[in-house]
């Protein structure tokens, strides 16, 4: 029985991955074939709408954007949220590249800090503005949850931040960071993969990103066709998962499933 279940597990894993990959490739081809002027209409997420406006305003007012990547590493489960945070950082770097004050990225994990420096560098390099890159704008702020919060709070206060994005893995300490962002009277957009952080963010942030909304960041901030394709793939896979859950419940109800 165990062997059969293990085999089923492997088959289901391959099937789901295969489905996800084929959908993604199909939607990417579809996005590339789209006429250059044509835009895809996405569901309205007010957080990203307000954030895009805040990026423009920060450039005009000579203030800085702050992107907090959380304290999750990339070798563990929270890696997905951290990578999404890095995508948002890249979009912000490109959008605010002409600003006098370039964006600053803080993180609570050393590998994420190194990656944030790479992302900032790549963002400037893609615009042939490598001279504007400052390595200390991607910084490690602390290695424990509360030391990270204590390290980021003065950064938000001192760096003349006009908008803060919190995208990555956080715990309930994110409440302190949001409060620091609120005190600058700037916009706070925040999303996390952790449930406890999402509960805090819902109450504290001006624009909370609930559930998978965080992972739509790249698509909404113009990171490219792959992000829109992956968003469409997620929408379809969500229905597949719902169908599988319902099928499992029915099979259990009629006594077919053990």
């Amino acid at each position: 029985m165990n062997l059969v279940l293990e085999f089923l597990n492997i088959i289901l894993g391959f099937l789901l991955l295969g489905l996800a990959l084929s959908l993604m490739i199909y939607f990417m081809i579809d996005e590339f074939n789209r006429s250059p002027g044509g835009t895809r209409r996405l569901r309205d997420i007010p957080a990203f709408h307000r954030f895009r406006r805040a990026v423009g305003l920060s450039v005009e007012s000579g203030k800085r954007l702050h992107i907090s990547l959380g304290r999750g590493g990339i070798t563990e489960l929270p890696g997905g949220a951290t990578f999404e945070g890095l995508t948002i950082l890249e979009c912000c770097t490109r959008a605010a590249s002409i600003s006098d004050r370039p964006p600053v990225a803080t993180s609570g994990d050393s590998i994420t800090a190194v990656l944030s420096q790479d992302t900032l560098h790549a963002g400037y390099a893609s615009l042939s503005a490598e001279r504007r890159y400052t390595p200390t704008n991607g910084r490690l702020s602390g290695l424990t949850p509360l030391s990270y919060a204590a390290g980021v709070m003065p950064d938000i206060h001192d760096e003349q931040v006009s908008a803060s994005v919190f995208a990555g893995h956080f715990g309930s300490e994110v409440g302190l960071l949001i409060e620091a962002g609120e005190r600058t009277r700037g916009l706070t957009v925040a999303g996390s993969d952790s449930l406890s952080a999402q509960a805090v963010l819902y109450a504290a942030a001006q624009e909370p990103l609930v559930g998978e909304e965080l992972y739509a960041g790249g698509a909404y901030l113009g990171a490219g066709a792959a992000h829109i394709a992956s968003l469409r793939m997620q929408d379809i896979l969500r229905w597949v998962v719902i169908g599988l859950i319902l099928l499992g419940a029915i099979l259990k109800l009629v006594g077919v499933w053990p």
Partner: protein
């Protein structure tokens, strides 16, 4: 040359990622290789901690020696001094020595505990602010559920524990909260799969071009 390096980086990342992923699905065939690659990543993480500390020190050195004569300069100077003293003390007494434990129990734990106390007040304030910022049914439901759970979990002075609220709390935390949490986690899992696939396909390159 730059382009060759960029392609090389992407190839290494994609091949390593695919092998680790396949190692999860085919543990008997590729489990050993997956473990080896993860161990390599853990070793690299240890080196990255050193880089991170250098980065932290350089950010605060810049701030401490900066032109602005504010409290931030002082805070950064205190951080640098603490960093040097900690390295010296832990280096002399060892990671589990007397001075290392003294440092953690005298400074780190009390400071972090006081930050937690501040967090409780901040969350209470945020909950009150939510009513003025987004007054709609979802916010009211959120706050109502939080109040019921809080009152249901702790006995009130003079009144003790309310049986009705206690059973409501139990139902709330075991039925709707679990259902909602599972829904959110499924969304997060799908988002993580999408992010992982983008990196495996080379569409996202957080390791630089």
């Amino acid at each position: 040359m730059k382009k060759v390096l960029s392609i090389g980086n992407a190839l290494i990342a994609i091949v390593a990622g695919v092998l680790v992923l396949l190692g999860y699905l085919l543990p008997t065939l590729l489990g050993g290789l997956r473990q080896y690659l993860i161990q390599l990543a853990v070793t690299l993480t240890a080196f990255a901690v050193l880089l991170g500390i250098v980065n932290l020190a350089s950010v605060h050195w810049k701030r401490a020696t900066g032109p602005k004569g504010s409290l931030s300069n002082l805070y950064s100077a205190v951080l640098l001094l603490s960093l040097v003293l900690t390295i010296l003390l832990v280096g002399i007494s060892g990671p589990t020595g007397f001075w290392s434990i003294w440092l953690v129990s005298t400074f780190q734990i009390p400071v972090e505990t006081s930050l937690l106390a501040v967090l409780a007040v901040v969350l209470l304030f945020a909950a009150a602010r939510l009513l003025s910022r987004r007054l709609h049914w979802a916010s009211l439901l959120f706050l109502g559920a939080a109040v019921i759970v809080l009152i249901g979990i702790a006995p009130l002075p003079y009144f003790g524990q309310f049986a009705l609220l206690s059973s409501m709390r139990q139902w709330l935390s075991s039925v709707p909260a679990v259902a909602g949490a599972r829904g959110l986690l499924l969304g997060v899992a799908l988002g993580t799969i999408a992010t992982g696939l983008r990196i495996l396909m080379g569409a996202d390159r957080p390791y630089g071009d």
